[in-house]
Symmetry: C2
Subunit: 578 residues, 2 copies
């Protein structure tokens, strides 16, 4: 990588951004002056997503961990659960930062700051010193002691209770979240712990986002960032939901916010603290350098995609998609995930929407729905199976497969905010092929994004520019479908490591190299404009198909037929009867 | 096979039944006295189902054919087309009859009669001497010159026109067909020929069922059997639809029935004629033996399943399912395929309903939706892939997969009578597996059968006994699902060659060995009663799922959302624009 260009600042100064994803963490070493990416490294989590049973012990490789392994008996998890092992986070941190520094070929002494971003809401119970409960002796076999990954969807009944109670009491904050709190967020997940393992709930001194927990590991002090507090923690207008509201959910929950969450809120790009000696040793970085306030992977990508402006929607497309956008004004968008003052950058209203499953859906289908002949052909031609499916799926004109799919295999985050929805495919015939279904699934996620954009537009928060980031930008057929379905030119982020670059931008601000995040974004961010243009013929066909999508979306998602809820209830009942 | 038991008649007399299926023909040599099966043989059609492009020539194997090969240029077929090559029928006939005689180890001189049954409505244009138009010089490249296989679904617009006109004019026969004439039947297919290739329509002296055409090849004279005339040819109360009605469809169609169909109708089990010298040579049978009137594969299976009685529904489950049942009274059942006086056995009203795709759907999914790992496992364990899927699909309790499917990948024959419907799957999650979808597809066809039974019950034609015949009886998990879903004990036909046995029964009657079909059925038919019993727990779960099926069935099939029609129209339009 060419790191010789210098737009400003010192050529010698670097920052490190670390992006904690669903399955792995990656570090990126970035030059402060111009955002040039000097080195990177990635590490898979040893336990990945824990969704079938609790692990019986840690890998030998996880030797750095000090607070004990996951001893105890394996325990099978119910459907919709998704946990992680916090030891994986610190193991990965200790692996990727030194490796990225080494890859960059710089002196660690040149690093002036470090920042991280995380999936969200991934949250966990901890002691006052930050120790996760699952690391305490005797608690390793208690599922509720573990971090609940963002895609843990088993707290839907608790989200339902929160929503019903909020609407009954006319809580004004509920409309900041499109009228619905998600089962993925802090309150629903904590309420599930209280319901299902009250003793463990009592032992949790703190209920903390992994985004803030990892910062605690770096600088030794607890912080709470404005982004997760606002989007995932219902922190609005300077406060959490009231004690009365929480007591209405469950009298034992009355003190949840005051006891387990409350803490001063830190602005994004702020300084969380200084790198502790232990963390410095773990990361191979200088002690005392700036540690930025925690970030969320989606939101932190906005500055990585270049100049920050209201109406510029950044869709971060990976296993799921987050749509994040700044707006100058406060508005209520039905089914948005949230609007938070300073939730993306200080001084603007940050809007978030999302789709629970995107790349996850493609990966699920690739694993479970594609006959062996295609895997054989991909092998023969030296391609990956997704590459082959992309090629075959993009062969025909729009609509030639006769299919419509709903993109809810992982539930619906926006605009329906309903984790109990599920996927559907309509139009199958005896001539339907796997690549045709694959294409219908690609399209279904594009329709889901169009539904979100249309809803923003209709709610007084116009989307004026669409930028795509995340791993899926590599699929040209998918990008073209998104351009055609949305009838918009598509710009792409200029980095393969958007979140890590965004974190690095925050590290630079925390270290004092720029006055604020927009200034750093303008210097260090990277966008390539209008890479894909909509084709009018395909866009016309997709308009027709989208109309069908909307009809099915409303039929299955807005109440006329709650078959998806009932099928899930039957499934859960007969499985638990076994 | 043990042919020593003797319930009556001469031990020396045998008959041959030949069943012409979708992909192959099979002959069965049967002892007249007791129905013992002495020998069998099968032959695949060289051209199978012609649904992509017309063949460019005939296989070298088809040398017996005298009327010229399929010369001419290949021509690609539009979606929903399904043709066959009549030369395949006669080739197969010449192969399977001698082979079955040889397998039986009998002297051909012991054979006193031959009968056949066919898929229906499989119909073709022919000259007055029975020559199919596709065998005429210069017509081999004209798609409309070929027999249209039952599952040719491209005449739906023509069926729509027939139905709309029939209802406008209050034609009383329309209610004998559940209010709808199918796109699979004679009139819709012929009208398509007129619309799309009027010159070829004019050249057709006769429009004839393959069931009757093959008899013509055997005895040298044209006949028209009561079954296809009634079910597929709208022959009711002694007449075809009127000239006025046909003219209302298209003035050029006014003479269709009088010119191309009209001929005395022959009762089932009647004598069509005597085996010609040429056919005797082809089949290796004695010249002059009895040739029975033609039959349809489904209807002919009823006597093969033992004693004939009103209320005994026989479901013949193969690529598609036909439900056939005798009733003492005439009733109008919504969405039935038809009710015909003497349509199954003379003297009773024969009711028919059906599902367009059943085994076809399982085969489609097995080929197109199952990842290689399962094929590998099946190979390793020495099973077929369907056997493995059956095993895996039957592992969990009913409802554990959380899925509902609509069984319309091949359209819906009963009770909606709509070939433009398509399949749907609802309830997919990121944890859904291929065996789970496979099970949902098995179940969907059972729900389709229950819908048909419920409709009969509600229309005053009670179903008192359910007997299953056809190739799918070999799948124990499928049979158990049908028992559970219908809450009925399931009896099975005692022959693996139900239609061919049924044909043999008709041959015995035509040869004068029994006074009528019921008498022959009682002696030669074979049923094993109550092989599968419904399980109350599973039946309860299926009641819940069936309620969901009914809701989706009515939503997609009865008008609230005609998305399936629109998707098909978009598909056809964009494909033809290419």
């Amino acid at each position: 990588m060419d790191v010789s260009a210098n737009k400003g600042g010192s050529d010698d100064a670097f920052v490190v951004g670390v992006d904690f994803g669903t399955l792995s963490a990656r570090a990126l070493v970035v030059r402060v002056s111009d955002g040039a990416e000097a080195g990177t490294a990635v590490r898979e989590y040893a336990h990945g997503v824990i969704d079938r049973e609790l692990p019986t012990g840690r890998d030998a490789g996880g030797a750095e961990r000090t607070t004990g392994g996951l001893a105890g008996h394996a325990r099978e998890l119910p459907p919709d659960w998704a946990l992680q092992d916090p030891g994986d986070y610190t193991d990965a941190l200790g692996a990727v930062v030194p490796a990225a520094i080494s890859d960059a070929g710089i002196d660690p002494g040149q690093v002036i700051g470090v920042a991280t971003d995380f999936t969200a809401s991934t949250c966990m119970p901890a002691l006052t010193d930050g120790t996760p409960l699952c690391e305490l002796p005797g608690l390793a076999a208690r599922p509720h002691a573990y971090p609940k990954l963002w895609k843990h969807h088993a707290a839907q009944p608790h989200a339902d209770r929160i929503n019903a109670t909020a609407h009954e009491r006319n809580e004004k904050w509920i409309n900041r979240y499109g009228g619905k709190i998600s089962s993925e967020w802090q309150f629903a997940k904590a309420l599930q712990v209280l319901d299902e393992d009250p003793e463990l709930y009592q032992r949790a001194d703190r209920w903390i986002e992994a985004a803030d927990w990892i910062i605690w590991q770096l600088c030794g002090t607890e912080t709470r960032n404005a982004c997760t507090a606002g989007y995932k923690g219902i922190f609005q207008d300077g406060q959490y939901p009231s004690r009365d509201f929480l007591a209405a959910l469950d009298p034992r929950f009355a003190g949840f916010a005051a006891d387990k969450l409350a803490h001063p809120i830190s602005p994004l790009g702020g300084l969380a603290g200084r790198l502790t000696p232990a963390a410095a040793a773990r990361c191979g970085l200088p002690e005392g350098i700036a540690v930025a306030v925690g970030n969320v992977d989606a939101h932190v990508t906005v500055p990585a995609a270049g100049p920050v402006a209201p109406g510029k929607m950044v869709a971060i497309m990976g296993t799921s998609t987050c749509h994040v956008m700044n707006g100058a004004e406060l508005a209520e968008v039905p089914g948005m995930c949230g609007v938070v003052d300073g939730g993306i950058v200080a001084g603007l209203w940050g809007y978030e929407a999302g789709q629970s499953g995107v790349g996850d859906i493609f990966a699920w289908f690739t694993r479970n729905g594609v006959p062996g002949e295609f895997a054989d052909e991909a092998r023969r031609r030296g391609m990956s199976l997704p590459e082959l499916l992309d090629e075959k799926a993009s062969a025909g004109p729009a609509g030639a497969h006769g299919l419509i799919a709903l993109d809810w295999e992982g539930g619906n985050r926006s605009v329906l905010v309903d984790g109990r929805l599920s996927g559907a495919i309509v139009g199958l015939t005896l001539a339907t092929t796997a690549p045709e279904i694959y294409r219908a699934l690609l399209e279904s996620t594009a329709f889901g994004t169009r539904m979100i954009i249309d809803t923003f537009d209709a709610s007084g928060v116009p989307v004026t520019e669409l930028v795509v980031a995340g791993g899926l930008i590599k699929s040209a057929p998918l990008m073209q479908i998104y351009a055609d379905v949305t009838r918009r030119p598509l710009s792409l982020i200029g980095s393969e490591q958007g979140p890590a670059l965004g974190s690095a931008i925050h590290a630079a601000v925390a270290a004092g190299a720029y006055r604020d995040v927009p200034a750093a974004a303008a210097a260090m961010g990277n966008v390539v404009r209008d890479v894909y243009q909509p084709d009018p013929v395909r866009a016309d066909a997709y308009d027709e198909l989208y109309a069908e999508y909307v009809r099915l979306h409303d039929y299955f998602g807005r109440g006329p037929n709650e078959v998806m809820h009932r099928l899930r209830a039957i499934r859960d009942r007969v499985r638990s009867d076994q």
